[in-house]
Amino acid sequence: MSTTMTHDAGHHEEHPTGIKRWLFTTNHKDIGTLYLWFSFTMFLIGGTFALVIRAELFEPGLQIVNPQFFNMMTTMHGLVMIFGAIMPGFVGLANWQIPLMVGAPDMALPRMNNWSFWLLPFAATMLVAPMFMGAHFMDGNGPWFGWTFYAPLSLQYNHLAYFVFAIHLLGISSIMGAINIIATILNMRAPGMTLMKMPLFVWTWLITAFLLIAVMPVLAGCVTMLLTDKYFGTSFFNAAGGGDPVLFQHVFWFFGHPEVYIMILPAFGIVSQIIPTFARKKLFGYSSMVYATASIAFLSFIVWAHHMFTVGMPVAGELFFMYATVLIAVPTGVKVFNWVATMWRGSMTFEPPMLWAISFVFLFTIGGLSGIMLAVVPADVQYQDTYFVVAHFHYVLVTGALFGIIGAVYYWLPKWTGNMYSDKLAKWHFWLSLVSVNLTFFPMHFTGLAGMPRRYADYPLEFTRFNQWSSVGAFIFGFSQLLLLILVIKCIRGGQKATSEVWEGAEGLEWTVPSPAPYHTFAIAPEVK
């Protein structure tokens, strides 16, 4: 195949440079890179917001910001991390890897690919812009109503239109990205790669893309109703006008719960790529992994109201959503068991990607188990809107989704840059992150059980101790991420040359092309047996 590659490269080796390369690119690798840098930038911005929150909560009393600004920080932290860091991070990985993994020369719709990326910087700007409006920055003029923007609270916000249009742009970008991914996977697989031979990462992204197409329009409808309530006198969510504030939550969480899986399914895929590589053993239960992913995706549409167990639903509704929610534990359990069974009697080594993948399995499972506790309605009445929930969703989103993305970067970075990275720096980054992330989020289980509500700018003295642990952990975790930045920059600049296989046990089409992957790959489709 390498001969066909060289032959082909002669025709296509136009390689634009400078700003135009990035602005007008239709190359999936360039666009993937853009997505990943965008995601990392937003990750640092969202992380800074988190550190403001943790600094303020280090001790009782308001030392740094006022409550309004604090609310703005919790809101912007959530929005920036979800829509700016995690989702674009996964799309970046999809852009780089899906064509390489299915043996396609590029994404199916390259020009739309360019557009879906370039909407993002504008959307992000529009999202943060209101923070700088108003007389004083410290007043907190940005969105301050929580990332869930519940009506009627969000209707009290002055610059709501900015928020609404930012969400619209993000949604359009996501939908286009999803269409592109589906089109690529369904139409551009190499001959011989049947659906049930696709790598798990490709499978999970295919399912995720369908989830995106299904729910992003619901989010768009939700924010549009908010917009007309605020500016055009409708009363969708205004009880005084005959509207229904709870309707907002039903619509929002009908988007919101599948959204949770949008942020975790690709990470499942990543871990399912990494573990077999470093266990030097085929993935256990490939087909059950696929079916489990599809079941989780299906169930994600019928569990949304478990975010709303305290709104006063009819008992029958509460029972239905409790039963449906605990059911998710079954396919999720299957996945965890399969990963453990893949490690079982393997021949394991612990390079950085494997470290992140194993800690993903361990910590995501902790988040999954607290999820079972949360599904039990009467107990959820106690947990709801306390730090217990905050602990739960950070275990699935930070040590789940984020660890998945970081693991993927460590796994494929040598393929992208052609260089191996510093193992020593990678291990420092991993161990510091692992210890500090638990120091940050584990004590939150206790603060939550003791009854501290979330989104509180100040708290009674009994909650001090655990908040201090969380704050110390958060600062270590935050600054440790700069090691990743240093590592990536060093790896781009040079280092030991990577082979095309990179990892000893690696299997799949992406490892058949040279490292770094040439600008154009698979111009002639490879044959999959």
Partner: protein, 395 residues
Amino acid sequence: MSVSNYKKTARRLLGAALLLGSGQALAERFNFQPPVTPVAHDIYGLHMMTFWICVAIAIVVFGAMFYSIFKHRKSQGAVAANFHENTKLEVLWTIVPFVILVVVAIPATKTLLYLENTSDAALTVKVTGIQWKWKYEYVDHDNNDANNVSFISTILPDQIAASSSGNSARIDKLNTPEHPYLLTVDHDLVLPINERIRFLVTGNDVIHSFFIPQFGIKKDAIPGYVNETWAEIQKPGVYYGQCAELCGKDHAFMPIVVRAVSKADFAAWMTKKKAEAVKAAEEASSNKVWKLADLIKKGNEIYHGKGGCFGCHGANGLGGGPFPALKGSKVATGPVAKHLHTVIFGVAGTPMQAFGKQLNNLELAAVITYERNAWGNNTGDAVQPKDVAAARKAP
């Protein structure tokens, strides 16, 4: 010093030490606060059962994983096996978790039905979440709505002041066992023990949530909805709760304080409250013309207390952020009619509420008079209850 004095001092010291000890215990709390209602006890049991099941699952899964990590490593000479599926095993680990979940779901269903059954209440209290205070209304204590006792419970201004000062020494000093920091309000919710109490929970402006951990209660307070929940308090004492649904700026500053007393004490308290209510109603509806100084004095109390005006417009009337200043403002120094209208009916699309529903004519007259004369506004206007009554009818 006499012997009895020594004894008294010793007792006080011992008491202080015990309280400090309990404070310490609180600081180290890893689990729920002690339950004091039947529902809260059931929830606690359910919570611990689910927790231990999760621990057991974790031990099995992580045990297998770490065993594998230590034994099946290349550096130990492990050679990878070839298997990659096993139908029996896969069916087994689909069915076993399912069975475990059924085991959890059965008591969960039972407790849920118990906690959602709000019938046969001896006493009904309507709870309204307002930005950022709670209104309590004893609905049908004697089946006569006219005699309903109701009041608004607001955090004490000294708590907010200490919080915004960010000064730990000041906060520590303010925090006492009887008046814990951020959990101290002007009027406690007084309730009888050993009686089924039904709470009707609703919201005035945005969604709040009525959360009392030791009662096993959390119910969202939603405008346009009346949600129900209940409690039967088993022990006299003071119980604390906080708002659990983000409701804007002072979300963290609208605590719930319940004082649970014996039935006899509750009846006595209720009689006293009723007498007060009757007196206040008479005063507010009388045609008495109030002196400026009296109105300002009363208005000062409402501004910094029941009305909760200081929460947004500041103790100094300077506002902050999106909240307008009252000092020198057009509304507070302009025509009285506009000021009355703003306070009584609120401003749509902003957090400015319709206070006409929360305060009586005298209280409104007093607080408006205060705003028109404090912080150098010096308009000299003395707004009277009858002006408020007239303004309520204005279009």
